[in-house]
């Protein structure tokens, strides 16, 4: 699998956020997107995942020499970002089951239990998310993003709201993903910047 970003430009009315962004990432691999606040890191992440359309340019996903149609690209991503919320009136378990089923994967109960245990939420999985702290919510977001084993994992501010144990889980997840697929991280934290082998800086 390869992701090719070609001449991406994004304008919001008359305000230009991204201009001429180009890069390529091959699986297995990892890439970090850096840039000052307001430089357009999140906008670029949303464009990569198909949540926003670019004003100009193209994101291409190539698998075994074939280009994946634009409408289907987003299903190859797992995304964790502060703007991506889960259903807070449902429990963590219900959220995980919903996202697993709707993505067409058969929920494996034992694997789900193991994942919940690995992020330290065992015993709390049947509580509604509205009772969770922001750190606990962030952990559930990770589970929903990785359960279907995406080829590309995109993390926007990956360790925000997490304690040391949560950060360790993120580091392990990034390490595992960059061996079997791709990881794209949008961040400014020096510790997180070091996690990517390639780097793209946007002005």
């Amino acid at each position: 699998m390869k992701i090719v970003v070609e001449n991406i430009e994004k304008k919001f009315r008359y305000h230009s956020v991204l201009k001429d962004v180009n890069f390529e990432l091959q699986s297995p691999g990892s890439l970090v997107i850096t840039g000052s606040n307001g430089s357009g890191k999140t906008t670029l992440v949303k464009i990569l995942c198909g949540l926003l359309s670019p004003t100009k340019g193209k994101v291409r996903l190539i698998k075994n020499g074939n280009e994946i149609p634009a409408a289907e690209q987003r299903f190859h991503f797992g995304l964790v970002g502060p703007y991506l919320q889960l259903y807070k009136d449902l429990t963590a378990w219900e959220n995980l089951l919903f996202f697993a089923k709707v993505r067409g994967t058969q929920p494996d109960i034992d694997r789900l239990k193991n994942l919940i245990e690995s992020v330290g939420l065992k015993g709390r999985e049947h509580e509604e998310l509205k009772n969770y702290s922001s750190g606990m919510l962030q952990r559930v977001k990770y589970l929903t993003a990785i359960y279907h084993e995406p080829e590309i994992l995109v993390l926007d501010e990956p360790t925000s709201n997490l304690d040391e144990a949560g950060k360790n889980f993120v580091r392990q997840t990034i390490a595992a993903q960059s061996e079997k697929g791709m990881v794209i991280i949008a961040t400014n934290e020096p510790e997180e910047v070091a996690l990517g082998k390639q780097r793209v800086e946007i002005a």
């Binding site: 359309s53 991503f77 995304l79 703007y83 919903f98 996202f99 709707v102």
Partner: protein, 227 residues
């Protein structure tokens, strides 16, 4: 082809089940709809007292109650996704058509539930009799389906705008007007004891309207849903 349609239907049902689960837990839409329906019926009932209204007044009254009750709750299915910032999460994992169908199934279920509550209450409180029950059931079914279809696509459009409440009513009314006119006419026939064949033209209008609005919604939804 068949397997992709089946997959789409399966995903729609998963979205429907999730919305049903959320609604069952929060009861936002259910409370809004039920409260509006019961309040309106009570006010009308007290205003008219023991007077028996004729079918020319009763039929529009019934559809006014159903239409505005629907308006008060059916937009919620999309507005909730935007307000709670779960719309992007849904965009990432579910194809647009499956989202639309799932929300449509939910609104149809909600409207049928509303009709089950409102119809008996209406006829008891208005002290009215239905002469042709078959016509009434058919018109309420097809009319309800059409209202749910209109409400679902308009809700998707207004959910991303700022002034949601006002826009929903303003946009829904002109689009739902043919539904309301046909449904009111058939309901009048049902109250007057007409034969089923007399309402076939109205039912055809309602059925065709459903086909047109659902097809159009499926065609345009992807552009509405994507940012």
């Amino acid at each position: 082809m068949a397997s992709s349609v089946l997959r789409l239907l399966k995903q729609s049902l998963i979205v429907f089940r999730k919305d049903f689960q959320l609604e069952f837990r929060t009861r936002y839409a259910l409370n809004a709809i039920a409260l509006f329906a019961v309040t309106t019926l009570t006010v009308i009932s007290f205003s008219i007292g023991p007077t028996r209204l004729n079918s020319t007044v009763l039929a529009p009254l019934l559809w006014i109650v159903l239409f505005f009750s629907a308006i008060s709750g059916l937009a919620h299915v999309f507005v909730r996704e935007e307000e709670q910032q779960t719309a992007d999460t849904l965009r990432l994992v579910v194809p647009p058509t499956a989202v639309l169908l799932g929300k449509w199934f939910f609104n149809v279920a909600l409207l049928i539930g509303l009709e089950i509550i409102v119809l008996p209450l209406f006829f008891i409180m208005m002290n009215a009799r239905v002469e042709s029950l078959d016509i009434l059931l058919a018109v309420v079914f097809f009319g309800g389906l059409a209202l749910a279809s209109v409400a679902t696509i308009i809700a998707a459009i207004i959910a991303i705008s700022g002034s949601r409440g006002a826009l929903f009513a303003v946009l829904s009314f002109p689009i739902a007007l043919p539904v309301l006119l046909s449904a009111i006419h058939s309901t009048q026939l049902a109250l007057e004891g007409a034969a089923f064949i007399d309402c076939l033209d109205d039912l055809r209008v309602l059925f065709s309207f459903n086909v047109v609005i659902v097809t159009t919604a499926i065609m345009v939804f992807e552009f509405v849903w994507r940012k």
